[in-house]
Symmetry: C2
Subunit: 343 residues, 2 copies
């Protein structure tokens, strides 16, 4: 592994003293970049994900164009359902579709955990290529969806505002839901270990839909599996948990083996710091729609955000993914405002 | 006005001592009722809303079939954009569509606040009919959408997971957003006053999308207008504010002139009670997808919920609208579990 020239992210995850926080943006390799749109016009989504050279190129695009302090491998959380044996279609603009959903014991039994990580070898190949291409400029982040979020898609079969079908599956068939969650967890742990072996410097677990659960149900259907992943991966590399919308779980998550917790834009820095007793690194939480403001306003808002989180044990990021409508120079203004802090 | 035989809701809103909490369900007049589906098959959405006899019949359906402690007038929050001059289409199953959205100063200027409440006379007619039909059995709740939520639809033009277009309108054209919010507020206050005059016993303001705002932005774009509405209506009847997802605003809202705050299912009773210093009536927050559990489990969960909120200064309800897939006897089990509490 090449020596990192910029290791701010890893030092922030490690709780070391820094002069300014590192910064990256969720979905930084994405649709706001004209260079990405060019590849999107030529190759469909899963071709981009499954072709290591393309995934590597897309991963590097924001590093070359915007210059954040970390890269994140270009992939998708739904590769896990695919590797477990479910078909996943992606109608771009419309979201994912799983024609065959998981409903019964037989459906769960049919999922093939064994070999799932191997079937995702193309992600590891992309990671190796990206590490080589990055040549130590910044760390590379690996990722996976959290088990509850993956269950949501596997049961619901598509995106949803409330994932009521997935939730009622949990509530009415609780033992089966846990069996499914455990299978997803087992596959995810193997998959993330393979990512580390391929070269990622840390990993982020996206629980994009955990915020649909009450605090009590988060403790039952989300937390135990996040803990398992953190415990399995933390000895290998730092782990960032991002349970979007689960403001109520910050305290419990700060007591896991994870190195950092991502917070979304609805959760204030003061609440997050108070809940986590300032003991863990926090990541977030710029409201993505504020990147549409004039760049001078973006800079002012970034300063305010860093002022609230503080410069220590903090990774500047958005509160959710960057929007396709954000001008490139606005994304750049966001990153530079952090990198030039406090100026 | 006829004397109310069951005034539990009003007494809970007034903070009086009760032997058990009142109960009603958001969207209780809706698609889980076969009787509603029959009318839906015959009349399109806005015909149902705009025909007082139909709106009255639909309002009464859950009272006759399920027996909650309050009725809520059957209508829609998007009647306000219509009354202000915007076309609203509803493709059932797909959600609302506003072909012409609000973007410019001219668009805002074109909105006709004057006469807006009068143009919604059919709602008041439905209220008069429903009051007569209820004949004092239970109180009748009137309602409107909160200004920020109405802005969301007027600017975005349709439903959205994040309402980024509407939010960036606020952030990039803040003075214009406030002008729009004030116009919506003015029309809404007149509309709600007309509802009170027509006979509603209390009102609920639905801020369905305020949870898309950060705590700081809620204080700018949502709270001041909720306050105006509460201040204008509270002298006339009790006001319930339901800012879905805005857990961070409970303290500020408990200090308004509102009589109650609705909390969604992600916010625990203990957090809500603590934030509001037990000074205001709370309403909520059963996870709607739990109504798909067997009725014995529903009863157990309802008891748990009441145990957590307590029987005083509390209105049992769902945390968001009832799902179309809920069996009628499950909805009944929910209502009866509250009414039979503590048995």
């Amino acid at each position: 592994m090449s020596e990192l020239k910029n290791d701010l992210l890893l030092r922030a995850l490690n709780g070391e003293e820094l002069s300014r926080p590192p910064v990256w943006m969720m979905r930084q390799a994405g649709r706001y970049l004209p260079e990405y749109l060019k590849l999107r016009a030529k190759y469909d989504f899963f071709t981009r994900v499954e072709t290591p050279e393309l995934a590597c190129e897309i991963t590097l695009q924001p590093i070359n164009i915007i210059g954040p302090d970390a890269a994140i491998i270009f992939s998708d959380i739904l590769v896990i359902p695919q590797a477990l044996g479910l078909q996943v279609l992606l109608d771009e603009g419309k979201g994912p579709l799983l024609p065959k959903t998981v409903n019964t014991l037989q459906d769960v039994e049919n999922l093939q955990v064994e070999g799932a990580a191997e079937r995702l070898h193309y992600v590891c190949k992309a990671i190796s290529l990206a590490k080589k291409e990055l040549n130590g400029r910044v760390p590379l982040i690996g990722f996976a969806g959290a088990p509850f979020t993956i269950l949501c898609y596997m049961v619901e079969g598509k995106g949803s505002k409330t994932f009521d079908k997935a939730k009622s599956f949990c509530f009415t068939q609780s033992p089966l839901a846990h069996r499914l969650l455990q299978k997803i967890t087992d596959a995810t742990i193997e998959y993330l270990k393979a990512q580390v072996k391929a070269g990622v410097d840390c990993i982020q677990v996206f629980d994009s839909w955990s915020g649909m659960l009450s605090s009590d149900d988060f403790a039952i259907y989300a937390l135990p599996y996040l803990k398992q992943i953190a415990d399995a991966l933390s000895p290998l590399c730092p782990v960032i948990l991002f349970p979007k919308g689960s403001w109520y779980a910050l305290k419990a998550l700060s007591q896991t083996s994870a190195s950092a917790i991502g917070v979304d834009w609805t959760c204030s820095a003061s609440f997050a710091r108070e809940q986590t007793s300032n003991k863990i690194t926090l990541q977030g939480n710029f409201d993505s729609s504020k990147l549409l403001m004039p760049t001078a306003h973006i800079k002012r808002e970034v300063k305010k955000m860093i002022g609230e989180f503080g410069t220590q044990r903090y990774i500047a990021n958005l509160g959710h993914g960057i929007l396709p409508t954000v001008p490139v120079d606005h994304a750049k203004a966001f990153v530079e405002a952090v990198q030039n802090y406090p100026n």
